[in-house]
C-alpha cells in the first residue's frame, strides 16, 4: 500500500481526498463481483438455514432487503456453512448472526454491505476525512501547527494560515494529535469532524523555545548563553526603515552609533556595536573612519552563512522569520575567531505547505528632513554681524571705499528682501515605496516559495536615493528521512548621492545671497560679480553649490549580488541528524562619479590645465566566496531525567575580493558623460586598488547536558584556521563553558503562582575577531612597478611578517537570569558581563637597523564591563485588550588596558602634525573618551581663553601636550522604553530611546558660534554670552576675537537624550467578513512614524553633511 500512503501524504485538500476515495472504489470494483439487487424498502429479514453456504445466505438477504454486497469471491471460499433461524429481524441482526464466528467481517454503509476477510482489514478500511481548525487561547488561528493521526506512520501535516487542516484517519476512533511549539500537545477523537481544537499554552512556554544559533539549534530551557530572539512580527511593529533600525528599536544592546555627520543618508552603512567596542584601529587606520567602523561590527549569519551588514540593510524584511542576537561566550564561542563582536543570526522563512498563497505588502514611505536643530542668522542680522565684526572697515582709503561699496550692495539686497533659505534648497520630502510579493505552497514532500521586493528609498537630499530589488526562490523537498533545501537570492541595487553635494555647503551660505538671477537662472558665483569691489572682501567670489546640481553630474553605484544556499539534512538514525550546507555568493559593485568641466570644483584650474577640467571616477569591486559546512547533531533523552545534546560542525570558507579604480579627466562637454569621452587619464595617475584572498576553516563541537530539567551544563570548543594569520599560528582554539539552573523546576518553587520561571545561568569563554587585512602576517614581496635597475626588474620586501601573529582574543564572562513572575505578567532578563580583549593587533617599533622600523604584533588589551536589564510587564492581559510596557537599561564601561609604544608614538606624531584624529586611544581611558585641552573658561579681564597646563597652572597658550580626557561619548546608561497596546484587532506600538550621562563635543559651538570668521553664515547664538568688556563673566570669547578655537573642554557638554524612535499603528481586518468575501485570507493596514522627535541637552546642528529625516509610512498587507 505504499502507493497509497505516499500519494496521500500532505493532500490536505478535500479535492484530493475525493479523488482518493474514487480510486479506492475503482480498486474494489476491479477485484470484486458486483451483485445488484432490486431495492425493497424496510429491510426485515426472515431466514431459516441449515448448513447453508454463506454465499447462498447473502443472496437471500440481498433479495429481501435490496442491499448491495461488495466482496471478493475468494473470501467466501473459506466461509463456514451457516445454520440459523431468524424472523423479521433487521439487517444488522441478521448479519450479526450470519457472521458470528466467521473470519469475515462486514460493514454497512448506506445500502451497501462490504465484506472482507479479517486480516485484510486495512485494505478495505474506509478512510475518513477529518477537517478542523486549530486555535489559540484567544481563539486566533494557529498556522503551522503539526497535526497527526496517532499511531500512523504518515508524517504530520501543518495547519494553513487560518489554522485549518485536513487529514485522513482510518476510523472515527482514531486520535488526532495536534502540537505546536509553546503549547501543550492535544489529542482529540476524529469522530466529531469538523473539529475545533483549542490549544493551551504549555505550562512552561519559554521552555519550548528553540534558539537558532546558526550552527546548532538549542533549547532555551537548557541554554546557558545570553541571547535575544526577535520575531518577524516584532520587527514589523518596531519600524519600517530597515532591519537594522527595527532591531535597534527592539533591543538597544544592538547599538547603532549615530553619525552626526551622515544623518539619514540611505547609502551610508551604520556603525553597529554590541557590548561596546572590542577592537582598536591599527596605526595606519587611525585616520580612516570606515575601517574603524568595520572593526566592531558583529558577525552576521544569514541562514547559517556569513553575510554582511550591507546585506542586512538591503534584505527583504518579509523574508525574515526571526533574528537572534548572541552575546556572551556560551552563545558565540561556536563562531570562534569571528564571535568577539557578537553574532546576529538571521533565519529566513521556510515555505509552508498548502495550496498556493500569495502575500502582498506595499509601503509608502515619506521622509522629511529634520532641521529643527538648525538656527542660523537671517539676512539683516548676518550683515549686521559682519559690520560689527569690522569686515567693512579698512584704514586704507583705497581699500575702504570698495569695501563700503560692497557693503552697500549687500545692504541693497537685504533691503530688497533677499532672504534665501539655503537649507530648503537641497532637501525635499522623499517619497519612496516598497512592494513585496511572496508566493508559497506545496505539499509535505515538496514545498516552494518565491518572493520579490522592490524598495525605492528616496532620501531627503534631493535626488539621493537607493533602489534595491530582491528576488528569492526557496525549494524544499523531503524524501524519506532526507530533507533538501535550496535558496537562491538575487539582488540588484542602485544608489545615487545627491548632486547637491554636502548639506553643510548650503547651511553655511549667507541668506542675503540670491541663488538665481532675475531671469531665474542659477548663478555660478554668489555675490556681485559685476565689478571688482568684492576683491577687498573675497579673493574670489564663493561658488554656488546649487550650480553643480543643475549640471549633468552624478555619483552613483550599482550592486548586483547572487547568493545560493543549498542544504541537505539527513536523519541518519533516530536522534542523529547530519546536515551539509553549501553557500555561494558573487557580488559586483560599480561606482561611477562624473563632474563636467563646468563644475565649480574646476573653477581655479590654470589656463594650461583647461583640458584637464571635468573628471570621471570609475571603480569596480568584485567579490566571490563560498561557505560550506558539515554538521552532526545528536540528542537523546535517557530515563526521562537525562537529556544530552552533542553537536559537531565543520566549516570551510573562502573569500576573494578585488577592487580597482581609475580616474579619467578632461570632459569639456557635460553631455558626454561616458567614461571613454575623457581626454586622458588623470595627470600622474595610475590605476589603483586592492585585492584580498582569505580562507578559513573551523571545527566546532558543542555538548549540553540537562539533568531533570533543573541543572544543565554547556560546553563548546572550536578550532579555527585562517590564512590571515601567521604560519606558526594558523590554528587557534576557542572555548566556552556555561552552567545553569532552572530554579522554577525545583520542588520548593513548583506550582508557585508568583515565580513562574527563574533561570540562572553563567558562562565563560574565549572568542576572537579577525577584521584585519588579508596578508598582514606574511613576509611578502612586491615588484617595483615604476622603477628598474638597468634593464632588470626588481622586487622588494613589503614588511617584516610575523609568523606568530594570531587572533585577538576576547575573554568573556557573563552571568544572567531569565525570569517570569506573577502569572507571567512580568518578564525579566538581566545580564552582567566582563569582556576583556587581549592580543590586540598593533604595530611594534623596531630599531631602524632591522631594516624596518615596525612590525605587527599582538599587543594591547581592552576591557568592556556592563550590564543589561530588560523587563516587560503586561499591565492588562485580557483576550480583547492587552497593554504591555517593556523597558531596557544598558550600562557599558570601556577601558583600554594596554597599547603598544609604537601605537602611542604614532598617535603622538599624528597629533603633532595637526592631523585631525577624531579619537585618541590611551591606556587607562575609554576608547570613546573625548580628548581636549582642559579650559578654565574665558578670562574676564582679557576675554581670552585660559587653559589648564599639565603643571596645574593657567596658561593662555593652547598646547597639544596638555590634552586630557574630558568626558566620554559613552553614556552612563542608555536603553529604550516601548509600549504595546492591543484592542481587538488594533495594535499601537511606540518605542522611545534614552541616553544618560554621556558627553559630547559640541561642534556647532566651535564652528558656528565661536567661528573663526563670519564671512559665512553662523548659528543664531552668535551674540549670546559673548565677552565684551573687562569684568564680563561669559562662556564665549569676544565677538571680535576670532582666532581658531582648538579643541577645548569648554565645548564638551553633558549629553542626555530622549527620543521617540518609532510609532506603529496597525489594524488587522482578520475578523472583517467583508475582507473575507473579497477573497483575502488576511488583510491589514499599518501606519508608522520613525524618529518622530529628538530631545537633547545639547543644542547642536544634527546631520551636517546629510540631514536627519523623519519618516512616515503607510503599509498594506494582504494574503490571498
Amino acid at each position: 500500500m505504499n502507493f497509497y500512503t505516499t500519494f496521500n501524504r500532505g493532500k490536505t485538500d478535500h479535492v484530493y481526498a475525493t479523488i482518493l476515495l474514487k480510486l479506492r472504489l475503482t480498486f474494489i470494483i476491479l477485484i470484486t463481483v458486483i451483485l445488484q439487487a432490486s431495492a425493497t424498502s424496510y429491510a426485515q429479514i426472515t431466514l431459516n438455514e441449515k448448513a447453508a453456504p454463506l454465499e447462498q445466505v447473502i443472496q437471500k438477504i440481498r433479495k429481501q432487503t435490496g442491499y448491495d454486497f461488495f466482496y471478493s469471491a475468494s473470501i467466501l471460499s473459506n466461509a463456514k456453512p451457516i445454520t440459523l433461524k431468524v424472523n423479521n429481524v433487521s439487517v444488522e441482526e441478521a448479519l450479526k448472526a450470519c457472521f458470528a464466528g466467521q473470519s469475515i467481517t462486514y460493514t454497512i454503509e448506506q445500502k451497501t454491505i462490504i465484506l472482507r476477510s479479517a486480516p485484510e482489514r486495512v485494505l478495505v478500511t474506509r478512510a475518513i476525512v477529518v477537517t478542523g481548525q486549530v486555535l489559540d487561547e484567544n481563539g486566533k488561528p494557529i498556522p503551522g501547527a503539526s497535526v497527526k493521526v496517532k499511531g500512523s506512520k504518515d508524517p504530520a501535516i501543518a495547519t494553513d494560515r487560518d489554522g485549518n487542516f485536513k487529514i485522513i484517519a482510518n476510523s472515527e476512533d482514531d486520535l488526532i494529535v495536534v502540537s505546536y511549539v509553546g503549547y501543550e500537545t492535544k489529542e482529540v477523537k476524529a469522530s466529531k469532524s469538523p473539529l475545533t481544537i483549542k490549544m493551551v499554552v504549555a505550562e512552561n512556554k519559554m521552555d519550548q523555545v528553540v534558539i537558532s544559533t546558526g550552527i546548532f539549534k538549542k533549547v532555551d530551557k537548557s541554554f546557558t548563553g545570553a541571547s535575544v530572539t526577535v520575531t518577524a512580527k516584532e520587527l514589523q511593529q518596531f519600524g519600517n526603515r530597515n532591519l537594522i533600525t527595527s532591531l535597534r528599536n527592539i533591543d538597544p544592546s544592538f547599538n547603532i552609533v549615530e553619525s552626526n555627520s551622515f544623518g539619514s543618508n540611505p547609502n551610508r552603512l551604520p556603525e553597529i556595536q554590541m557590548r561596546g567596542n572590542s577592537s582598536l584601529p591599527n596605526v595606519d587606520q587611525l585616520t580612516t573612519d570606515e575601517v574603524r567602523v568595520g572593526l566592531n561590527t558583529p558577525l552576521i549569519i544569514l541562514d547559517g552563512f556569513q553575510s554582511t551588514l550591507q546585506k542586512m540593510l538591503d534584505i527583504n524584511e518579509n523574508e525574515v522569520e526571526s533574528i537572534t542576537l548572541l552575546k556572551d561566550a556560551a552563545a558565540t564561542a561556536i563562531y570562534g575567531s569571528r564571535g568577539s563582536n557578537g553574532v546576529v543570526v538571521i533565519t529566513t522563512k521556510s515555505p509552508q505547505a498548502g495550496k498556493l498563497r500569495i502575500n502582498f505588502k506595499s509601503d509608502l514611505n515619506i521622509e522629511t528632513p529634520d532641521l529643527t536643530n538648525y538656527n542660523v542668522l537671517k539676512s539683516r542680522e548676518k550683515l549686521e554681524l559682519e559690520l560689527k565684526a569690522g569686515y567693512y572697515n579698512n584704514a586704507r582709503a583705497e581699500v575702504d571705499l570698495p569695501l563700503k561699496r560692497y557693503y552697500n550692495f549687500v545692504l541693497n539686497e537685504v533691503n530688497r528682501g533677499v532672504e534665501t533659505d539655503w537649507m530648503a534648497i537641497p532637501v525635499n520630502t522623499g517619497v519612496g515605496q516598497r512592494h513585496n510579493i511572496r508566493l508559497e505552497g506545496g505539499d509535505q514532500s515538496f514545498r516552494y516559495s518565491a518572493s520579490a521586493q522592490l524598495n525605492d528609498i528616496k532620501g531627503v537630499m534631493k535626488e539621493s536615493n537607493r533602489t534595491t530589488f530582491n528576488g528569492a526562490i526557496t525549494l524544499a523537498y523531503t524524501y524519506k528521512n532526507i530533507k533538501f533545501r535550496n535558496n537562491l537570492q538575487v539582488s540588484q541595487g542602485n544608489s545615487a548621492e545627491s548632486p547637491y553635494g554636502k548639506f553643510s555647503d548650503f547651511t553655511r551660505l549667507n541668506p542675503y545671497w540670491r541663488p538665481y538671477d532675475d531671469k531665474g537662472n542659477v548663478l555660478k558665483v554668489l555675490g556681485d560679480p559685476s565689478n571688482f569691489d568684492y576683491t577687498s572682501y573675497w579673493n574670489s567670489l564663493p561658488t554656488n553649490p546649487l550650480y553643480n546640481a543643475t549640471l549633468n553630474t552624478f555619483d552613483k553605484s550599482e550592486t548586483s549580488e547572487i547568493i545560493n544556499n543549498f542544504s541537505i539534512e539527513w536523519t541518519l538514525i533516530k536522534d542523529l541528524v547530519v546536515r551539509g550546507q553549501l553557500g555561494l555568493s558573487k557580488k559586483n559593485v560599480q561606482y561611477d562619479a562624473f563632474r563636467p568641466a563646468d563644475h565649480t570644483f574646476f573653477n581655479n584650474y590654470a589656463i594650461a590645465d583647461v583640458f584637464r577640467k571635468g573628471d570621471y571616477k570609475y571603480r569596480v569591486n568584485n567579490g566571490l566566496g563560498y561557505d560550506g559546512s558539515f554538521n552532526l547533531a545528536y540528542s537523546k533523552m535517557i530515563n526521562v531525567k537525562h537529556v544530552i545534546f552533542a553537536g559537531f560542525d565543520f566549516n570551510i570558507r573562502q573569500d576573494k575580493n578585488s577592487d580597482y579604480s581609475f580616474i579619467a579627466e578632461g570632459f569639456p562637454n557635460a553631455n558626454f558623460d561616458f567614461v571613454t569621452m575623457g581626454l586622458q587619464y588623470a595627470k600622474d595617475g595610475k590605476p589603483f586598488g586592492t585585492e584580498s584572498f582569505t580562507r578559513a576553516l573551523g571545527f566546532t563541537s558543542n555538548v549540553n547536558y540537562t539533568y531533570d530539567n533543573r541543572y544543565f551544563v554547556d560546553a563548546s570548543f572550536r578550532v579555527d584556521g585562517s590564512s590571515q594569520f601567521g604560519g606558526n599560528k594558523r590554528f587557534a582554539p576557542f572555548w566556552s563553558t556555561g552552567i545553569g539552573w532552572n530554579l522554577h523546576n525545583e520542588k520548593f518553587l513548583q506550582d508557585n503562582k508568583f515565580v513562574n520561571r527563574l533561570k540562572i545561568r553563567g558562562s565563560a569563554g574565549i572568542t576572537g575577531s579577525q577584521n584585519f587585512k588579508a596578508y598582514q602576517a606574511q613576509s611578502t614581496y612586491g615588484y617595483y612597478t615604476n622603477d628598474r635597475y638597468f634593464n632588470w626588474l626588481g622586487s622588494f620586501l613589503y614588511g617584516l611578517g610575523n609568523e606568530d601573529l594570531q587572533w585577538q582574543q576576547t575573554l568573556k564572562y557573563n552571568i544572567g537570569t531569565d525570569a517570569e513572575f506573577l502569572n507571567r505578567r512580568l518578564k525579566l532578563n538581566a545580564d552582567y558581563y566582563i569582556e576583556k580583549t587581549n592580543d590586540l593587533v598593533s604595530f611594534v617599533n623596531l630599531p631602524a637597523s632591522n631594516g624596518f622600523t615596525s612590525y605587527i604584533e599582538n599587543i594591547g588589551s581592552l576591557k568592556n564591563k556592563g550590564y543589561e536589564i530588560k523587563a516587560t510587564g503586561f499591565l492588562i492581559a485580557r483576550p480583547k485588550l492587552t497593554w504591555s510596557i517593556t523597558s531596557a537599561l544598558i550600562h557599558n564601561r570601556n577601558e583600554i588596558l594596554e597599547t603598544s609604544k609604537a601605537y602611542e608614538e604614532a598617535q603622538a606624531s599624528l597629533r603633532s602634525s595637526q592631523v585631525d584624529i577624531n579619537k585618541i586611544y590611551v591606556k587607562g581611558y575609554s576608547s570613546n573618551a573625548i580628548w581636549v585641552v582642559p579650559s578654565l573658561g574665558i578670562d574676564p579681564s582679557t576675554g581670552k581663553e585660559l587653559y589648564l597646563g599639565k603643571d596645574g597652572l593657567p596658561t593662555y597658550t593652547w598646547n597639544a601636550n596638555n590634552i586630557a580626557a574630558v568626558g566620554s561619548t559613552d553614556p552612563k546608561f542608555f536603553g529604550n522604553i516601548s509600549t504595546m497596546l492591543r484592542y481587538k484587532d488594533f495594535t499601537v506600538n511606540a518605542s522611545f530611546a534614552y541616553t544618560y550621562g554621556g558627553q559630547m563635543y559640541n561642534q556647532t559651538l566651535s564652528s558656528k558660534v565661536e567661528a573663526v570668521d563670519y564671512k559665512y553664515n553662523v548659528d543664531s547664538r552668535v551674540y549670546d554670552n559673548r565677552w565684551q568688556k573687562p569684568g564680563d563673566i561669559t562662556a564665549f570669547k569676544g565677538l571680535l576675537v576670532t582666532g581658531i578655537t582648538p579643541k577645548t573642554s569648554r565645548f564638551v557638554q553633558d549629553e542626555n537624550t530622549f527620543r521617540l524612535q518609532n510609532v506603529n499603528l496597525q489594524y488587522d481586518f482578520r475578523s472583517s467578513q467583508f475582507v473575507k468575501h473579497l477573497g483575502f485570507q488576511a488583510f491589514s493596514v499599518a501606519a508608522n512614524m520613525a524618529d518622530v522627535f529628538y530631545l537633547s541637552t545639547i543644542r547642536q546642528e544634527r546631520g551636517t553633511t546629510y540631514p536627519f529625516a523623519k519618516q512616515f509610512s503607510l503599509t498594506l498587507n494582504a494574503t490571498f
Binding site: 580562507r695 614581496y781 626588481g794 622588494f796 637597523s849
Partner: protein
C-alpha cells in the same frame, strides 16, 4: 546502508584535516610570499635587483649619500640661511631637520641590508633552484658585497673616527632578517664581520666573474656571435654591479679605513694592475676627450662599480641645471680658485663645470658630472652611472699607502692623467695625507667621499675646504632616534 553512511562520514571528517595547512596558504595577487619568490632562480635575481634599486634611491646613493646630504656636510654647495642644508654644514646634529636627513640615510642603508639579508637567509637552502652556472655564486657574492658596502658607509658616517675607535657609536652589523631587535657591537667585531663578508664574496667571485676574463666593452655587448656569450645576460654588464674588482676596491677602501695600509695597497694595486686578455688595462683613467668628445663626464672607464640610474638626466635637470639647488657660486671663481687652484689645465676644472643661467635669470655654477647623454644612441654612450668605486680612488690609495717611491709613480700617473703637474709627494706621512686629501676633494666632488676622507684622518678645520666659519667640525654623528627605540 549503515556501512555506506559510516564511510561517507569518515571521509567527511578526514578529508578536511589532511590538507588544512596547505588550504590556508593563500597567494596574494599584488604581493608574493617570500617562500614563493625564492622558489626560483628568477626570484633571487629579482630580489637582488630590488636591492640595487634601493641603493639608487634618493635616501641612499641616488642622492643623499653621493650628492646632497653627505656633500652638504662638507659644504660642497651654496646653502640658504636657516635651511637644513646649512645646518648640516654647521654640524648642527641636534636640529630636527638634520636629524631627519641622517635618519633617512641610516634607515635606507639598513633597508638595503635587510633586502640582501633576506636573500642570504635563503640562498644556501635553495641552492638547488639555481640552474645557470655561476648564478648562485654571483648572487650570493653580490649580496655579501652590498652588505659590506653599506655597512662600511654606515660605519664611516655614524661610527667612530678610525684612529680612535672606542670613542664613538657602536653600530649593528646585521646579517639576519628578523623582528628581534638587533644589538650594536664594538668596532673590532664590526670590522671582523665586514672583512669576512668581503673575503667570502671575493672567494665566490674570483674564478667565475666574467669581468676577470672579458673587457668592459665585451661585458657591455653580450651576444651569441661575440666573444662574450653568457647563458643569462643577468651575468653581463658586470661593471653595473658588485663584481670581483669592486670587491677588491672595496677591500682597499675598507683596509685604508681600518688603518691597514699594506692590505689597502695590495688590493688597490691589484685593481690598477688588472689586465684584459690582450694585456690592456681593465680600467683606464679618464681623459679630456672622454669629457669633451664622448660627453662621458662621469668617466665610466674608471668605474669598478657604477650604479645605473635610468633617470639620471632628469635628476640632473632637477638638481643642477634646472634649479641650481646644487651649485657652488654664481661664477666660476670659487671652484676654480679654491678647489682646483686655477691650473687652467686640469681636465676637471676645464670641462666638468659650467655656468648656467636659470629661467629666473639667476646664474649658477654647477658640475656636469651627473649630466649623461639624455637619449644615448647605443649602450656605448649610456653613461647613466653613479660612481660607487672608481679607479682614481685606487690610485689615490696607493699614493698614500705604497712605499714612497712607488707612491710617487702612481701619484704622477694620476696627476698627469688629470693634466696637472706631477708634483712631488711630501715624505712626511701627515703632509702626504693632506696632499692626497686635496686631490680626493677635487676628484670626488659630489660623490660623497670627501667627508670620509676628512674623518679618516680626523682632519682639522684648517684642512677642511669650504667649512663655514661658524662651523665646528664634528665627525661624530649621533645615532638616529629611530634606532633607539624601546617598546
Amino acid at each position: 546502508m549503515k556501512k555506506f553512511s559510516l564511510i561517507i562520514l569518515t571521509l567527511l571528517f578526514v578529508l578536511p584535516f589532511t590538507s588544512c595547512k596547505k588550504f590556508l596558504e593563500v597567494v596574494p595577487k599584488t604581493e608574493m610570499p617570500q617562500h614563493v619568490l625564492f622558489s626560483t632562480e628568477g626570484g633571487f635575481k629579482d630580489a637582488l635587483t630590488g636591492a640595487y634599486i634601493q641603493m639608487k634611491s634618493k635616501s641612499a646613493y641616488g642622492e643623499a649619500m653621493t650628492q646632497t646630504t653627505i656633500e652638504w656636510l662638507v659644504s660642497s654647495w651654496d646653502v640658504t640661511a636657516n635651511s637644513t642644508p646649512q645646518r648640516i654644514g654647521l654640524f648642527n646634529f641636534a636640529d630636527a631637520g638634520v636629524e631627519d636627513s641622517f635618519s633617512a640615510i641610516f634607515e635606507q642603508e639598513y633597508r638595503i641590508i635587510s633586502s640582501v639579508n633576506a636573500i642570504l637567509a635563503q640562498i644556501d637552502a635553495k641552492k638547488d633552484v639555481f640552474t645557470t652556472p655561476g648564478m648562485y655564486e654571483t648572487i650570493k657574492a653580490e649580496a655579501l658585497g652590498i652588505r659590506a658596502y653599506c655597512h662600511l658607509d654606515l660605519l664611516r658616517l655614524f661610527g667612530p673616527i678610525p684612529t680612535a675607535p672606542t670613542n664613538g657609536n657602536m653600530l649593528a652589523y646585521v646579517t639576519t632578517l628578523t623582528n628581534t631587535p638587533t644589538t650594536r657591537i664594538p668596532f673590532e667585531a664590526y670590522k671582523a664581520a665586514l672583512l669576512k663578508d668581503l673575503t667570502d664574496a671575493e672567494a665566490l667571485l674570483k674564478d667565475i666573474d666574467p669581468i676577470t676574463k672579458y673587457t668592459l666593452a665585451e661585458l657591455k655587448s653580450p651576444s651569441v656571435t661575440g666573444n662574450f656569450n653568457p647563458t643569462d645576460t643577468y651575468l653581463a654588464f658586470r661593471y653595473l654591479r658588485i663584481n670581483y674588482y669592486a670587491i677588491k676596491g672595496l677591500q682597499a677602501r675598507a683596509y685604508l679605513w681600518f688603518g691597514d695600509k699594506q692590505k689597502a695597497y695590495e688590493n688597490a694595486k691589484l685593481v690598477i694592475d688588472a689586465k684584459n686578455a690582450d694585456s690592456s688595462p681593465k680600467f683606464r683613467l679618464g681623459t679630456s676627450a672622454d669629457m669633451t668628445t664622448q660627453k662621458d663626464y662621469v668617466l665610466t672607464s674608471e668605474h669598478l662599480f657604477g650604479l645605473y640610474d635610468f633617470d639620471m638626466y632628469n635628476k640632473y635637470v632637477v638638481n643642477y641645471s634646472g634649479s641650481g639647488i646644487l651649485k657652488k657660486g654664481t661664477a666660476a671663481t670659487t671652484i676654480n680658485t679654491s678647489l682646483y687652484g686655477n691650473t687652467g689645465t686640469d681636465i676637471r676644472e676645464a670641462n666638468m663645470w659650467e655656468l648656467l643661467t636659470l629661467s629666473n635669470q639667476a646664474k649658477v655654477y654647477v658640475p656636469k658630472k651627473y649630466l649623461p647623454i639624455e637619449k644615448p644612441s647605443g649602450i656605448g654612450q649610456d653613461f647613466k652611472q653613479i660612481p660607487m668605486i672608481r679607479l682614481s680612488e685606487m690610485y689615490l690609495i696607493v699614493s698614500e699607502t705604497a712605499p714612497l717611491a712607488e707612491a710617487q709613480t702612481y701619484w704622477a700617473t694620476f696627476r698627469t692623467a688629470r693634466n696637472i703637474t706631477a708634483s712631488i709627494l711630501p715624505a712626511d706621512p701627515a703632509q702626504q695625507q693632506f696632499e692626497v686629501l686635496k686631490e680626493i676633494r677635487k676628484e670626488f666632488y659630489a660623490e660623497g667621499q670627501a667627508f670620509f676622507a676628512y674623518k679618516r684622518i680626523n682632519a682639522p678645520k684648517a684642512n677642511f675646504l669650504f667649512a663655514p666659519s661658524a662651523a665646528t667640525v664634528n665627525y661624530l654623528l649621533p645615532i638616529p632616534k629611530s634606532e633607539l627605540v624601546s617598546n
